[in-house]
């Protein structure tokens, strides 16, 4: 998304985001979330601007960004498919589902397809452990899946 965006636009939009959180106690995480949602990742130019406006060093902001799985360095795909790999899902075929999804998309964990359509992310529990195995596609939840559902999921993101 932000790939083609000119630097000054990233800087300006980041500044506007930061501005909205200046009254907040501990504003950095909400800011990074907003930046990630806006650009599909947290660009270096945004890190620099945030550091500048919050009076932090760039290393500090980068350190925070890199600590959390949610904040990405390069743009995510148009769709993001998060597949639960935790125990309750494992107990009802989660591993087989994960394998089938990887195969259907031709992607490994954390990879984005070359055409930018989809990013495949592992997650550890979506709180759907009673309807396992489960995935989240762009914020939409799917439970009680079978490996044979992988093809349909793949078709859905390619559509």
């Amino acid at each position: 998304m932000a790939g083609a965006m000119p630097m000054h636009e990233i800087t300006e939009r980041t500044a506007a985001i930061v501005d909205g959180y200046l009254h907040v106690e501990g504003p950095l995480l909400p800011i990074l979330h907003d930046v990630q949602a806006t650009f599909g990742h947290v660009p270096d130019a945004a890190v620099e601007k945030i550091a500048d406006l919050l009076n932090l060093s760039r290393a500090e902001v980068h350190g925070v960004k890199s600590f959390y799985h949610d904040f990405q360095t390069s743009p995510a795909g148009h769709h993001v498919l998060k597949v639960c790999r935790a125990e309750a899902c494992q107990a009802v075929g989660g591993d087989a589902l994960g394998d089938a999804i990887q195969k259907a998309l031709g992607l490994d964990w954390h990879e984005t397809s070359a055409d930018g359509t989809v990013t495949l992310e592992p997650v550890y529990c979506l709180g759907l452990c009673s309807c396992a195995p489960a995935v989240m596609l762009d914020g939409e939840l799917r439970g009680r899946l079978k490996p044979r559902d992988a093809e349909a999921l793949a078709a859905e993101v390619r559509r």
Binding site: H69, D70, E87, Q90, C125, G127, C129, S130, L141
Partner: protein
């Protein structure tokens, strides 16, 4: 007007509740029927989701699991009349044994009411606790909570009243209530269900905690994996503010309390309270050494109560009904009720609130109905990714904090994940190490390096390379992690690993599991 209830709980959504609601609305519109669809929370009978209920003369009739394809057939069969003969008809909801046999104190309203209706909330006993608390001194509220015997539901089981007392006694111009809604443990969804099904009980509990300790600001920290819970909570907070339940003068008392939601960013360790505080302050979620206790130096260095969702959501009932009432439930030093979550390979998956004191076997076999696959149970993991795996031989273990500790386990956040006999326990032990490696905050060497070594060792055991010495090495590695880690992530990862080794040694022998799976 007839009301139809279709849950908007995330578990129900994951199996098509929205599609059912859409189809039903279209059908009612087509026929010009005066039926209102209410999006409630979940009753917790997740194997029946989407569970649709029809309300007739204040009685609710259940149907489930309903898919959108069933909608028109159910309608033709007359489901709006409640009592019908149909494969999906379950009769009166309140008579379904799974629900009827529970003791619902914290989940009294969950699934019953419209989560965004304060009117529904009040009509079903909501706000009585806060109203009573407003007639009491902070000391009186704290001692009521202490006397109830309530212990933290986040995992460590620390007495809630004692924590509150420390914050009450602490000096500080600003104190905070932080609700820990990070719920990262696999097999748990109880916090999510409260947030999505009865958000006002949590807001009420936090306001009571504020009154009790002199804290005027609250934060609810939850995970980014819970977008639906976040939406419901934010909307409920807005409604509560407009209604004067939150703000400068709580219910006109002249005492202030307000709160907001903060979202984590995909780090399991941020469920640890000091890591969470760092995260809220905009730092890396590194665990802090204790002391200082968060109760004395917490968020921004100020006195802070950090409590789990269920600890806080249990408080309104304790205040409304009295400490003695709550304390009367339970066993030993585990008082009150516990929201057991049944997940994984189990027939009747869902949430079951009951007094402490059932045995693990009763929970898994009698309540859970055994495995979903119909195969024999082999192992159950209790208490999330840091909890031990229990074999069927230990099914007489009583569900309480001390009984589980005595058997080298923990009840944690009361999630129970059931596995059938196809599970390979070496693989589960390896996953425990992998999870620790992925989620470690990196502060302690044993927790940062240990699990990586652990995976290597387990891989060697799987390949049958120097098996005996590698198993010995694994034990000593686990000891190092157990005693050399600052928090329970590094310190408790040995529980699943060692329990797997101890109770399922056959899976650590060459060809071990192939035999079991045959």
């Amino acid at each position: 007007m007839t009301r139809v209830f279709i849950p908007q709980d995330a578990a129900a959504l994951s199996v098509g509740a929205d599609q059912v609601a859409l189809r039903m609305q279209a059908l009612f519109d087509d026929r010009d029927l005066d039926v209102e669809i209410v999006r409630n929370g979940s009753r917790g009978m997740h194997w029946l989701e989407p569970l649709v209920e029809v309300e007739i003369d204040a009685q609710r009739f259940a149907f489930g699991p309903v898919s959108d394809a069933d909608v028109s057939e159910l309608f033709e069969a007359g489901f709006l009349d409640g009592e019908i003969e149909h494969p999906l008809a379950l009769g009166l909801t309140s008579e379904i044994p799974y629900l009827k046999n529970q003791t619902r104190l914290t989940y009294e309203r969950c699934g019953l009411i419209d989560p965004h209706s304060l009117k529904d909330y009040r009509a079903n006993g909501g706000m009585e606790g806060l109203e009573r608390a407003l007639t009491m001194s902070p000391e009186e509220i704290v001692s009521e909570v202490t006397e109830s015997g309530l212990r933290g539901r986040g995992g460590a089981g620390f007495p809630t009243g004692i924590k509150w007392n420390t914050v009450l006694k602490a000096d500080g111009d600003q104190k905070y209530i932080v609700c820990n809604a990070d719920e990262g443990d696999s097999g748990t969804f109880a916090d999510r269900m409260i947030m999505e099904g009865d958000p006002f009980v949590l807001i009420e509990g936090m306001a009571i905690a504020g009154l009790a300790t002199g804290a005027t600001r609250g934060y609810l920290y939850t995970r980014s994996e819970y977008p639906h819970a976040i939406d419901v909570m934010r909307e409920a907070i807005d409604i509560a503010r407009v209604a004067g339940l939150l703000g400068k003068s709580v219910l006109g008392s002249g005492k202030a309390f307000d709160m907001e939601v903060r979202m984590g960013a995909g780090a399991y360790v941020c469920g640890e309270e000091t890591s969470m505080l760092n995260s809220m302050e905009g730092k890396r979620g590194i665990v802090r050494a204790k002391p200082p206790l968060p109760a004395l130096e917490g968020f921004l260095g100020r006195p802070t109560v950090v409590n789990n969702v269920l600890s806080l959501a249990s408080v309104p009932a304790i205040l409304a009904k009295g400490a003695a009432f709550y304390k009367d439930f339970g066993t030993g030093r585990s008082r009150g009720t516990i929201a057991i979550q049944l997940a994984g390979n189990v027939k009747y998956s869902g949430l079951y609130e009951t007094a402490f004191g059932l045995t693990l076997g009763e929970i898994v076999n009698d309540i859970g109905g055994g495995t979903l696959s119909g195969r024999p149970v082999k192992a159950v993991q209790v208490g999330g990714p840091l909890g031990a795996y229990f074999p069927v031989e230990l099914f007489d273990t009583v569900f309480d904090y001390e009984a589980f500790a005595a058997r080298d386990g923990l009840i944690g956040h009361a999630g129970i994940v059931v596995f059938d006999d196809t599970v390979d326990m070496l693989k589960q032990a390896r996953f425990a190490m992998e999870f620790c490696a992925v989620e470690s905050c990196g502060k302690c060497t044993p927790c940062r390096i240990g699990p990586v070594r652990g995976m290597e060792v387990l891989d060697k055991i799987a390949r049958d390379e120097n098996r005996d010495s590698q198993i010995e090495l694994l034990h000593s590695l686990c000891d190092t992690m157990k005693f050399g880690s600052l928090c329970a992530l590094g310190g408790f990862t040995p529980y699943p690993v060692v329990s797997a080794l101890t109770h399922f040694p056959q899976d650590f022998r060459p060809t071990g599991n192939q035999q079991a799976a045959e």
